[in-house]
Subunit: 444 residues, 2 copies
């Protein structure tokens, strides 16, 4: 299970100087995918990463644990791609065939890889378990391959490279595949490229997908190097800038002016240009930076806004408490929303969203409160107040803003969109409060 650097730097050299994009094909192996038992999230993950590396992906395949069909799939893919990224079918059972069939396609025999054998022995001894014979299967490796370390499981990854073709085998479970890809496979793929690819993403919120696309249409039309691509996420748009150059420094230099241009166009809507910063993290960071405590009060989202915030490790510094006030009684009893307000305007109204936020600010003694009241459906809608109507309130240090939204789709979709809109509104209100405080603006 050792990552032999020496071997693949040779393979690397073969590819240098190639002008066209290298072509990658994904093969996911597993009967459980064909039965619809699991969603193939590995393929989406690998595709996005490959696009970021500047590799062209023309096909994704899924095939079961069947020797003949697996052989045909690998053979066909090798005929049309430079790199095959395979996941699944590396386990110790007789059903797991990926390694054996891949070696057969490449004309390689298997040998007992002593280091892998020792690692398996160690794995079992440490746990005081007896090693059954089938486990040695995992120590058999195709001749001339690179064995890739798997710190999260017993099946190592395997790379076979020959005549400009690269067959890469990874385990199927995402918690093994993703770390292996990031630690070992991604650097391998980067070094295959004749040039360095560098990507940076500008993440924006509070701007609709089609509006964002219109705002960058001219940049997309003119694009050569760097390129610009838009990715619509729930309540957010991600703009990815990708450049290729001789080295990373040169690629970063190409990306920089485009990032600056996008920041200029989208202003405060840009919440980060860091890959690992989510919208909820941006909000929590803003709270931390301004030493603001937060509370949530939710009706139709039933705790989802709080749950998104509590996704962020370290949120305990700022998160005081959250309330789920699904019933009118709870809105009155916990938050002091007046019965007359509920009767006059209805639970789903600007007034109630405002009173919920203000009430929670008092009860929770929080600096910032976000409140949600809406109709997630499928029932409960009227002509005047249809399913999808949501009011989001945001209280920041004494002032309160309420936003009216109308979402479409299923109950789950409406709730998901509401949560993103709530996070976006919180960010906007906090920024606005501080810009006005700082620049002498006054309460509206």
């Amino acid at each position: 299970m050792i990552w032999r650097r020496g071997v693949w730097t040779v393979g690397c050299g073969e590819e240098k100087g190639m002008d066209r994009n290298m072509i990658v094909e994904l093969i996911s192996v597993g009967t459980e995918i064909l039965l619809g038992n699991i969603v193939n999230t590995n393929a989406a993950y690998l595709s996005e990463k490959c696009a970021g590396l500047g590799l062209s992906c023309y096909y994704q395949d899924v095939v079961g644990d069947n020797e003949e069909r697996l052989y045909d799939t690998i053979k066909t893919a090798l005929g049309r791609a430079d790199i095959l990224l395979m996941s699944g079918g590396l386990g110790p059972t007789q059903d797991d065939l990926t390694k054996e069939v891949a070696a057969k396609v490449m004309g390689k025999t298997l040998y007992l890889h002593e280091e892998s054998k020792a690692a398996i022995q160690k794995f079992f001894e440490k746990r005081g378990m007896e090693i059954t014979d089938n486990n040695w299967k995992q120590a058999m490796m195709p001749e001339g391959c690179i064995v890739v370390d798997n710190p999260n499981g017993t099946a190592p990854g395997i790379i076979m490279a020959e005549n400009g073709k690269h067959l890469i085998l990874m385990p199927g479970p995402p918690n093994e595949m993703i770390p292996m890809f990031e630690t070992s496979i991604m650097p391998y793929l980067s070094r295959l490229q004749s040039c360095v690819i560098f990507s940076q993403t500008v993440k924006i919120c509070g701007v609709g997908e089609s509006k964002a696309e219109t705002m960058v249409a001219d940049l997309i039309d003119q694009q050569t190097n760097p390129t610009l691509a838009t990715y619509a996420k729930t309540g957010e748009v991600h703009l990815r800038v990708t450049a290729r150059a001789e080295d990373e420094k040169a690629a970063r230099k190409l990306v920089k002016p485009m990032i600056k241009e996008l920041k200029g166009r989208f202003g405060n809507h840009v919440y980060t240009t860091e890959d690992d910063v989510t919208l909820e993290k941006a909000v929590v960071d803003l709270l931390l930076a301004n030493k603001l405590t937060i509370s949530t009060v939710e009706s139709c989202t039933g705790g989802l806004v709080a749950a998104r915030l509590i996704n962020v490790p370290g949120v305990s510094e700022v998160f005081k408490s959250g309330y789920i006030t699904y019933s009118n009684k709870a809105k009155r009893r916990l938050l002091g929303v007046k019965k007359s307000t509920l009767l006059k305007h209805g639970a789903v109204s600007e007034e109630v969203a405002r009173d919920m936020a203000k009430g929670a600010a008092v009860v929770a003694k929080a600096d910032v409160v976000v409140s949600v009241t809406g109709i997630a459906g499928p029932d409960g809608g009227t002509e005047e107040k249809p399913v999808g109507l949501v009011y989001i309130g945001c209280y920041v240090c004494g002032r309160c803003t309420v936003k009216k939204c109308l979402f479409s789709g299923s109950r789950a979709k409406i709730r998901e969109n509401t949560v993103s809109a709530a996070l976006s509104l919180m960010r906007e209100c906090i920024l606005q409060y501080y810009s006005e405080v700082t620049f002498g603006g006054k309460d509206k």
Copy 2:
């Protein structure tokens, strides 16, 4: 856009009397899947449905909006499958090629389908929009095809059947594809079969995946008709029983004894045998049936338990209020958990889970309370209390049970498992309370 029943009942007859399972292949068309922009949930959905229909799926393919590659993919798939289920690429833009290429493979020319033309005209007139020329593309249909109604979009589905091969085109967006599949395509596929397939699923909770598999290993070994398959879901296991027979009545008759056997083996762990009942719905139904109100108090799950319950339409009858007490201060102030208990046992402890549940029962005046306190990570774990340690409390009408759990995986995974375990525990505690009340059992 009319579903012409007459046409495909002829096609149906051709297949009657086939002994082997019909083979289906899925082709998802879309560059956005190849770029990793979206996860291919359509494939998982269709695969599960096809398995339920008794169709064998050997390959899933993803290909972009590229004429040559699309042609090759369809051609290859037609050579090895009886039925092709394609989704995506039916829109009005020049990029959308699925219909044109599929017709070419089948040797069919396109003609202007008057009914589709009228439907498009109506669609635009109703919205007072001008019809641009490219929209007529969606009214062009391959000769001899069946045009399938799409009530949720402008692109109809298309079925081409010839020489025992069935090429079925559906739109890509799941909110159009799924209703079309369930309303029109599923009945079409059922009628292709020489026999009727009937499936029923026994859903269980509170039993681990491997234990459940062991408990049915003998049934799986002996299986012929009906067959039994296990599907592991988060915190649940689904056991699907599938029978084939000449008609539905006969198939149901074959399924019945196996369902009875499974119910016997898993007893109270079976929460439903209905397809559309989720675990949260089973819990809410149990609350409704016993006229019990519910409140939630959550720490590390930060509102996710409440959010799952509030997934269920109609929950407002029983859900009183929920609390997110992430900080110790909130646990003390909102629920009256004692400072000394927190200091002596720590926030993540059996005692605190118990006091949180009891406290909320008083504050919220609820009959049932579920409480959660745990360490979701990635930081905050110690040798004594590692990441993944979670205590779940459940209070039912005066008595309180606390369950200690140790989950592994990411922060998200730990939280997800905790939510399922909490729902499962609620169900168990409510059932136990009533069985003891009813049968004269006493407090433990």
